[in-house]
């Protein structure tokens, strides 16, 4: 049956409506594109600003998400925790995550409901032998539960229990490829260097490499029974050496388990608790002086307690995210302000559209489609720019970001959500404002400039406040960095070379050889050895040993430093009392040097000759050296004891060279070291480079601040530039009249710039206290820090004003020199 005429007609009407709709949308986009083309300057400013902002924000967001994604790839991430111990003293609290070896078996026995538990010990960079080839890789010692708790998939070999036997070993994919090439490593034997020779290990599995956002990184994993000192310390509760991780039953609360640990602590740490109380410890809120606690797996990356973490403050990724939001806000502000400003010039078009029958909704849709086009183009350009600059960004900011994160649904929805929100806000608000205007007024080209200009001004104030904030933060970060770089540390850092010894040579032999070889070169002043580097060497490792002993009835804690003869001479330390350790005194292996802080800690008027009952043996104080910053300037100088005892290994050789031609001295030392230890992989470095490396985190932060500040000030100024063009267009007639009445170019320049400079000044006043507060908080993290000076705010404020003024002048002068005859005629 053929359709009734009515149906046919309805169908036609629908078709016509559909046609109308598609025509309308076509019309919107046509107008959008034509408008963009007609106002090239604004389009350029909008698109460039937004694209730069999108690109920068994207990179920063990736950085933040990367940091926040640490250890989140583990399936059991919500149930796995790291154990740490908290000890309260009279005036301080110690928190540490290193545990004694018997802790884990005891926990296993006493808490049967704990699902899994593993120790995680750092074997150290270790030598491996396969056939006649020697390799150097990171070996970690874990318990069999490790693979059940953590998601490191086995790609080859035994998946069920790869570390079932004491001599089993698991390789990472990279290490497997390095050692075995294309051979199948499963079932092969490799040899691991232990204290007294080589030990055969059976390769049972190959695990996928740990992802970059993992707090655990390993080349090889062996059973914890292989951990150095395992047999000696198997029942030793006072020797801490490794981290412990446990998996609670799903649903068990952290706090509940920590409560349960109370009795466990009382049972196993009875003697320590008594000693702490005897020394005047102040108990915590629960009345405990010593307690065990848990850090959730996903918080480890940000934990200052866990020795597993890089101790990045959790504040850092959020700060990065905040800066990216700042930049986006500034670019959006430009967009909104330009749309608002142009509403003025487009009022006539809107009026005409309304007169011929456009509804409010249609107008809003039209303007939104324009902003979607601009935002869309900007987003695409921004993503392209981010991809192009990613390698440089990674290099410059020391960031481990990859675009893979982009594929995660969270990021995609974050970006798309942001895109839609920005388009709607930036396009919708001005559209709404214009479309609600009275038709009769708008057709005459009049739009309420008053209401939009107060919004515009507030947005510009926020914009410049954010830029000023970043400039001030940059200045203060830079000052603190500079302060740390130049502050005298109490030792010679520019003429001392530090060589990480590594694991493939006997350290004492290495020192002896280096001493004798280097003694023949006139530019070498002295050579010594130590177990702890000053600053951060090219081996990227840092360590601390703390020794506590009972001294005249109370516990004294001191940093413990293994040194060798000539340590004082090499570093240029100053002996303020007593004498240096010297070969001429035969028995100096039982003598120690202490620093002034330690002398204070001992509480003796003259501690020279005192006996310190440490470590079984009694050590005698030979001399006191002037305090020096053996740790980074984040920390106060602590008590320090320096010993020459061959029982403690040295890890670094320090060489003092004569000033002048340091580069050739360095080359010489590297050559001699290469002769001595041909397998060496890590180079020597000057101590000033090492101390600099300690502040990498701060340097990265300052770089992010600088970049953020530059991007935001550039985008802000682009916006200001465009706004000035608009204002001048609107005030052309006024400028003409004023010129006819005798205004000079300077008068006009002042007229236009004073309103904007006022806004910038307000911004600076808003930004300064916020910056002061935030940076003061940041500086609290440094034991040695600068005082924030008032003139920093004055100078940065002046800079912001000058930049704004130059931006304004550019267009204003052009308008001011224009012949008023022209501007009045155009009216």
């Amino acid at each position: 049956m053929s359709p009734s005429p009515l149906c046919k007609r309805r169908g036609m009407v629908e078709k016509i409506n559909e046609n109308k709709k598609s025509l309308m949308i076509k019309n919107y986009f046509k107008i959008a594109l034509r408008n963009m083309w007609k106002h090239k300057t604004f389009t350029f400013i909008n698109i460039t600003g937004m694209a730069v902002a999108f690109g920068a924000a994207l990179l920063l967001t990736l950085t933040a998400f990367f940091e926040l994604s640490f250890d989140t790839f583990h399936q059991n991430k919500n149930d796995v925790y790291q154990l740490y111990i908290e000890q309260h003293h009279a005036n301080s609290v110690d928190e540490g995550s290193t545990m004694p070896i018997p802790m884990t078996p005891a926990l296993k026995a006493e808490f049967p409901d704990v699902v899994h538990i593993t120790r995680y010990g750092d074997f150290g960079g270790s030598a491996l032998r396969y056939g006649d080839k020697i390799f150097n890789d990171d070996v970690r010692c874990v318990d069999a539960d490790f693979f059940k708790m953590f998601t490191f998939p086995i790609v080859n070999g035994s998946t069920i229990n790869p570390l079932a036997d004491k001599n089993d070993i698991v390789l990472s994919a990279t290490v497997a490829k390095n050692i075995f090439g294309n051979q199948n490593p499963i079932g092969k034997l490799i040899e691991l260097k232990v204290d007294n020779g080589w030990k055969s290990m059976n390769v049972t599995a190959v695990a996928a490499d740990a992802p970059k956002n993992s707090s655990f990184d390993f080349g090889l994993l062996c059973r914890f029974e292989q951990f150095p000192g395992y047999d000696q310390n198997i029942n030793e509760w006072n020797s801490q050496s490794h981290n412990v991780f446990l998996q609670l039953p799903t649903g068990e609360k952290q706090a509940v388990f920590e409560q349960k640990l109370k009795t466990f602590v009382q049972k196993h740490y009875d003697a320590s608790i008594k000693q702490l109380i005897h020394d005047g410890a102040k108990p915590d809120n629960n009345g405990q002086v010593l307690s065990l606690h848990l850090i959730p797996l996903t918080d480890i990356h940000f934990s200052a307690i866990s020795s597993q973490s890089r101790a990045i403050s959790k504040f850092y990724p959020y700060l990065v995210l905040l800066i990216s939001l700042f930049i986006m806000f500034i670019a959006c502000t430009n967009f909104i302000n330009l749309s608002l400003g142009r509403a003025f010039t487009r009022a006539k078009e809107i009026g005409v559209r309304k007169v011929i029958g456009a509804t409010k909704t249609q107008l809003i849709v039209q303007f939104c489609s324009e902003s979607f086009v601009i935002c869309g183009i900007s987003l695409i350009l921004g993503v392209i720019a981010a991809c192009i600059f990613l390698p440089q960004y990674k290099l410059a900011f020391n960031q481990q970001v990859s675009l893979n994160i982009l594929a995660s649904p969270a990021i995609i929805s974050y970006i798309l959500g942001g895109f839609v929100l920005i388009s709607l806000l930036a396009g919708g608000y001005p559209a709404w404002l214009m479309s609600v205007g009275k038709t009769a007024q708008t057709v005459k080209g009049k739009v309420g400039a008053g209401q939009s200009s107060s919004l515009r001004n507030s947005l510009m104030v926020v914009q410049f406040a954010l830029s000023s904030l970043l400039i001030i933060c940059t200045a203060i970060t830079w000052q603190q960095l500079n302060y740390m770089r130049t502050k005298p540390l109490g030792y010679n850092k520019s003429e001392v070379v530090s060589i990480p010894i590594g694991s493939n040579i006997d350290p004492e032999k290495a020192l002896t050889q280096m001493r004798s070889k280097l003694s023949s070169y006139p530019q070498v002043v002295s050579v010594t050895g130590t177990d702890m580097n000053l600053g951060k060497g090219l081996d990227n490792s840092s360590s601390t040993s703390i020794m506590s002993f009972n001294y005249k009835g109370r516990t004294v804690s001191t940093n413990w430093l293994r040194v060798d003869y000539d340590y004082v001479k090499t570093l240029g330390l100053q002996v303020v009392n007593g004498r240096d350790l010297s070969r001429s005194f035969g028995a100096d292996s039982t003598m120690v040097l202490i620093n002034q802080k330690m002398a204070e800690e001992l509480g003796e008027k003259n501690p020279i000759g005192d006996l310190l009952p440490t470590d079984g043996a009694k050590l005698q104080v030979a001399g006191i050296v002037k305090d020096f910053n053996f740790k980074s300037l984040h920390h106060e100088i602590a008590p320090l004891t320096m010993v020459i005892r061959t029982g403690w290994p040295i890890n670094y050789i320090l060489v003092r060279v004569k000033s002048g031609n340091l580069a050739s001295s360095m080359a010489l030392i590297n050559k001699v070291w290469k002769d001595t230890n041909p397998h060496t992989e890590v180079g020597a470095s000057f101590l000033d480079e090492n101390t600099e490396r300690q502040y990498n985190k701060e340097t990265d932060l300052s770089k992010i601040f600088v970049t953020g500040a530059i991007i935001s000030i550039v985008i802000s100024c682009m916006g200001l530039f465009a706004i000035v063009i608009l204002i001048i267009t609107q005030r052309t007639k006024e400028i003409g009249i004023r010129k006819v009445l005798g205004a000079s170019v300077n008068n006009i320049l002042f007229l236009i710039s004073k309103d904007f400079l006022k806004l910038v000044l307000i911004s600076i006043c808003i930004a300064s206290p916020i910056a002061w507060y935030a940076m003061d908080k940041w500086l609290q993290g440094f034991e040695y820090r600068i005082q924030i000076q008032w003139w920093v705010f004055v100078i940065t404020g002046t800079i912001a004003l000058i930049i704004a003024f130059v931006t304004i002048s550019f267009q204003s002068i052009k308008a001011a020199v224009l012949n008023p005859v022209k501007s009045l005629r155009s009216e």
Partner: protein, 225 residues
């Protein structure tokens, strides 16, 4: 006061060159009231702009108060202008964002008159123009006639020797127009030289002399008796 000789001004676009003033010569004595008439495009406004030193001629000489100003720099012209010439426009050209008082005060600010003196002089002139009661209003709040009175007040506040008026009654009804012409005549009687461009024969009759322009040249001069 004014002597121009062989003044020429061209406007060039990409294709055509229009001659706005073609070897125009004329003179105006101090105290005169001159009307310039002619059809659209005859060069009236161009002439007025050059006389007002807003624009410079391409050729010829312009002597103002015995000084040759034809090739003065922009800065020098501006300086001479702000001390000697007042302008009255057809569309008033008041600044919308400033009040009546502030609009009139503006020329005094630019010539650097001290604040107390400014208040005195603005009040004086507003009083004379009978718009004192409107001193705190904005231009949009005034009628056309009142706006033009403000514009004239602004033109004379600096006590200029010359007033240039460009169709001062063009946007006004006849009664307001007559008021404005009376005002100009009063000013002229007090010694101010006035040159006025107009389309209106009626207004032109207030002047002493009418100069008629066509195609940038003087075609006729009528002396009014």
């Amino acid at each position: 006061m004014i002597k121009i000789t062989n003044l020429e001004k061209f406007y060039r676009t990409e294709e055509v060159e229009t001659i706005a003033l073609n070897k125009l010569s004329m003179h105006v004595d101090t105290g005169e009231f001159v009307a310039i008439m002619g059809p659209s495009g005859c060069g009236k406004s161009t002439l007025l702009n050059i006389l007002g030193m807003l624009d410079d001629p391409d050729e010829g000489s312009y002597v103002f108060n015995d000084i040759e100003v034809a090739h003065f720099t922009e800065r020098k012209r501006a300086d001479l202008r702000k001390h000697n010439i007042g302008f009255v426009f057809q569309s008033f050209n008041l600044i919308d964002e400033l009040t009546v008082f502030e609009n009139v005060e503006l020329p005094l600010i630019y010539t650097g008159v001290p604040s107390a003196e400014r208040v005195k002089r603005v009040e004086e002139v507003l009083d004379k123009m009978q718009i004192m009661h409107r001193r705190n209003h904005y231009p949009q709040q005034l009628s056309g006639g009142q706006q033009q009175r403000v514009a004239i007040a602004r033109a004379v506040v600096n006590k200029p020797k010359l007033i240039l008026a460009d169709e001062p009654t063009g946007n006004l009804d006849s009664s307001n127009g007559n008021d404005v012409m009376e005002l100009l005549t009063d000013l002229n009687e007090q010694g101010t030289t006035i040159i006025m461009v107009t389309h209106s024969e009626h207004d032109a009759r207030y002047s002493h002399r009418i100069i008629r322009l066509l195609d940038g040249q003087t075609v006729m001069e009528n002396i009014m008796i």
